[in-house]
């Protein structure tokens, strides 16, 4: 079919964060025709999100320059919605479908933030930590706004730092993990001077604000156009006024595309070998979907994946190092059980369908929760409530359904039509 909406490539890469960009550059270096696709208007993913490359850290700037000089085809503002057959990816852009025919696929879909319900988490001006960071990078102004940054994980400090640099007043950075564990994790960074230097820079960014471990948000209430935030350290409860709240409990690998492809998943991460090969032939995976390990690891895995996807014999230890790092991260920032007690029965768990925790029976499976309450059946397709329920109710994941992202009815009708014509 000589249709402009059918693109042919050797290597298709989904996700243009550090892993995807490095994979694209590496695949091009091997001479493969390469196509890189992302839902955002510019490459960079979350960590290298930018409006102007001058805003980027040196490594991000360098990789984005390499990408633009690589000859890889860049498709922005497009969502991967289906893998109807081996070698075929269907994507949506501005309501239109197009087909990408590939020899190798690199899944570099990154991670999403784990948001946990508490009374007030659905109020406007309560964001994810990565969420507020993303909005800041997308041009939002936080100058002179008071912000409380809370939740868990290594994202809290750099986000607080960049908010402070943008003129925000950081009232508090509250890390739920106990200080001992966090410092032990930070201590381990001595062996990694780059990471240590980063951590020191972040801390310097908001020296006057408090960074409290073993502290978490209990609830948020609106007070006029401001927010009253109730915090606790498990012994004491106090409130503070703020304009904005950024709260997130670490990252969850985005493995939906990998699951649709049929890749084996172990403990929520895509299983890969030393060439970043998944269990499915010609399908590779790099970066956070193989385990949360940050941008440097994603780049290392992306280079391996891109080269291997282009047919080069390349192996390395990036994925196993990532798995070890992810395990250390999980231990250091393990979520305290107290967080399970935060939502009361009236607290909304599924934001799309306004399902409250009290509607969800004890011991229900993910599918049962979905069918009986509609939790997870809205447009976010469970991307927010499913990780929350995995923590609150220890449920597993329900099957991935088509389309992978909401898409116009006409598009689904159309892309299936094309398949029929081809088969």
């Amino acid at each position: 079919m000589s249709d402009a909406s059918v693109l042919e490539t050797d290597v298709a890469i989904v996700g243009a964060g550090p892993a995807g960009i490095a994979a694209a550059v590496a695949a091009r270096a091997e001479g493969a025709r390469t196509l890189l696709l992302d839902s955002a208007p510019r490459p960079g993913g979350q960590i290298w999100r930018h409006r102007d490359p001058a805003q980027l850290p040196a490594s991000g700037r360098r990789w984005i320059e390499r990408l633009s000089g690589s000859g890889a085809e860049w498709i922005h503002s497009a969502n991967a919605i289906d893998l109807p057959a081996p070698g075929v990816l269907i994507a949506e852009r501005e309501g239109r479908a197009f087909t990408i025919r590939w020899r190798s696929l690199v899944i570099a879909t990154g991670a999403t933030e784990r948001l946990l319900p508490f009374p007030g988490w659905t109020l406007p001006n309560v964001f994810g930590v990565g969420g507020l960071q993303a909005l800041l990078k997308a041009g939002a102004s936080v100058a002179a706004r008071r912000v409380i940054v809370a939740g868990s994980g290594p994202l809290l400090l750099p986000v607080a730092s960049s908010l402070a640099a943008a003129g925000a007043t950081i009232r508090l950075v509250a890390e739920q993990a106990p200080a001992l564990r966090v410092y032990r994790f930070a201590g381990a960074l001595w062996s990694d001077p780059v990471r240590l230097a980063q951590a020191a820079r972040y801390r310097a960014g908001f020296r006057r604000a408090r960074y409290r471990c073993g502290t978490w948000i209990v609830r948020v209430d609106p007070v006029g156009s401001a927010l009253s935030v109730t915090l606790t350290d498990g012994r004491r409860i106090w409130t503070d006024r703020t304009d904005l709240v950024a709260v997130g409990y670490g990252l969850v690998p985005d493995v939906r595309l990998a699951r649709l492809a049929g890749c084996s998943i172990a403990s929520g991460c895509v299983a890969v070998d030393r060439s970043q090969r998944t269990s499915v032939p010609s399908v590779f995976c790099a970066g956070e979907p193989t385990g949360i390990a940050g941008a440097d690891s994603a780049v290392a895995q992306g280079r391996l994946a891109g080269a291997a996807a282009a047919g080069a014999r390349r192996t390395g230890g990036a994925a196993s190092r990532a798995r070890r790092f992810a395990a250390r991260l999980d231990r250091a920032f393990a979520l305290r059980p107290d967080l399970r007690a935060l939502p009361d029965p009236a607290t909304i768990v599924c934001r799309c369908e306004d399902v409250s925790l009290g509607e969800i029976g004890e011991g229900w499976s993910a599918r049962q929760i979905k069918l009986y309450t509609r939790a997870g059946m809205g447009p976010c397709q469970g991307r927010v409530c499913q990780p929350a329920l995995e923590f609150l109710r220890r449920t597993g994941a329900d099957a991935v359904r088509l389309p992978l992202f909401p898409a116009p009815v006409g598009l689904l009708a159309d892309h299936a039509n094309r398949d029929e014509g081809d088969s």
Partner: protein, 375 residues
């Protein structure tokens, strides 16, 4: 645990309704479900409540069932999302409009409200339909429900009446006096096989095969359509017993979402979506309602209808196994016909005067083994 009078195998909407009916009559009932109540074909279904007239027995069963649901309506919780939105059967051409007139007469004879709609009135009822359609048939008493919630309520009501509801307990074998499950054996005076498309796995020879369907639901677009809308050619699709078929069928949900069907194909228990058929189904729908193409689809799924050769469910005693009763094979009408099925089964089990002529529903009516019917 005391020995139940009756064991109902299968917690779909039909099994849940049967358990409730028998419990209402004072029987000690145990409902055994492999996964959870309403989680199988029930959850996959559209949830229409329709009077269907493609055969006199089906007409009787659907009309009885709809009336029983009307009686229940005040007791149902909001989660059941019952909406008496009515059905609009759309005629594409004059031939189909003639068929609509005949249907209207048949509905009228049976005291079911229905009226013929002409081509000029159609856009007033459903502005989204494409221009130039011949007309249709409006059945105002029809509606929709959210099936898993209705099944769950029926099971909960049975529990209030004393029934035991055992979920997460797959049944491995059954006869007319006992049921073997993953957790052991349960004995009773009678057993009802209400396992839907899985019924022939437990009772060999039942002429039921899984007939797969796809559905798509959109994001909230309130007011997009007002009635459940089907093409009059739907029955042709529903009855084509071999090849894959699609028919235009959309429903407004109380959530403001639009549910789009329908497709039918015989592919066993294959769970890989048939994208080509899904596409055909959506193109058929957009052909009738062009603006559908622009709505945001958020999810598709598949389900397995328990299909019989003559499109009527099997309701009644097994002629071969003493104590065994069958309530299965409801194809795409199980949500509508669950209550009528339960009432008729209850009549037969308890020796009450039957609410319907039971003969057309006799489980052994085909006399042929399932394999021969759908070879």
């Amino acid at each position: 645990m005391s020995r139940p009078d009756a064991i109902v195998v299968g917690g779909g909407i039909v099994g849940a309704a049967c358990a409730r009916e028998l419990a209402m009559a004072g029987l000690g009932v145990t409902l055994v479900e492999a996964e959870f109540v309403g989680g199988g074909a029930t959850a996959a279904g559209m949830g229409h409540i329709v009077v269907m007239d493609d055969s006199p027995p089906q007409f009787g069963l659907t009309a009885l069932s709809r009336a029983l649901l009307d009686e229940l309506a005040p007791a149902l919780p909001a989660a059941v999302e019952r909406d008496r939105c009515g059905t609009l059967w759309v005629a594409e051409d004059e031939d189909q409009l003639v068929a609509a007139r005949l249907k209207a007469a048949a509905y009228g004879d049976a005291k079911v409200e229905a009226s013929v709609v002409d081509g000029a009135e159609l856009p007033r009822l459903e502005p989204g339909l494409r221009p130039g359609l011949a007309g249709g048939l409006l059945v105002p008493g029809d509606g929709v429900v959210y099936p898993p919630a209705l099944a769950r309520w029926l099971a909960e009501d049975a529990r209030r009446l004393g029934a035991a509801i055992r979920e997460g307990e797959p049944v491995t074998a059954l006869d007319g006096r006992s049921v073997m499950t993953a957790r052991g054996r349960i004995d009773a005076a009678l057993v009802v096989n209400a396992a839907g498309a899985a019924a022939p796995i437990l009772t060999h020879g039942l002429p039921i095969v899984p007939r797969r369907g796809h559905l798509v639901i959109t994001d909230r677009h309130p007011g997009f359509c007002r009635h459940q809308v089907l093409e009059l050619g739907y029955l042709k699709s529903a009855h084509s017993s071999t090849g894959a078929s699609v028919a235009f069928n959309v429903q407004p949900r109380m959530t403001g979402q639009v549910l789009i069907g329908s497709s039918r194909e015989l592919v066993g228990w294959n769970r890989t979506p048939n994208r080509a058929l899904l596409g055909r189904m959506l193109r058929r729908a957009a052909d009738f309602m062009p603006a559908l193409a622009g709505l945001s689809a958020i999810r598709s799924w598949i389900g397995f209808r328990p299909a019989t050769p003559d499109n009527l469910p099997l309701i009644g005693p097994s002629s071969r196994i003493d104590g065994l009763w069958i309530a299965a094979g409801h194809e795409g009408l199980g949500i509508t016909t669950a209550l009528g099925t339960a009432r008729l089964l209850g009549d037969l089990i308890l020796g009450r005067a039957p609410s319907l002529d039971p003969v057309p529903f006799t489980p052994d009516r085909s006399g042929e083994p399932a394999a021969a019917v759908h070879a």
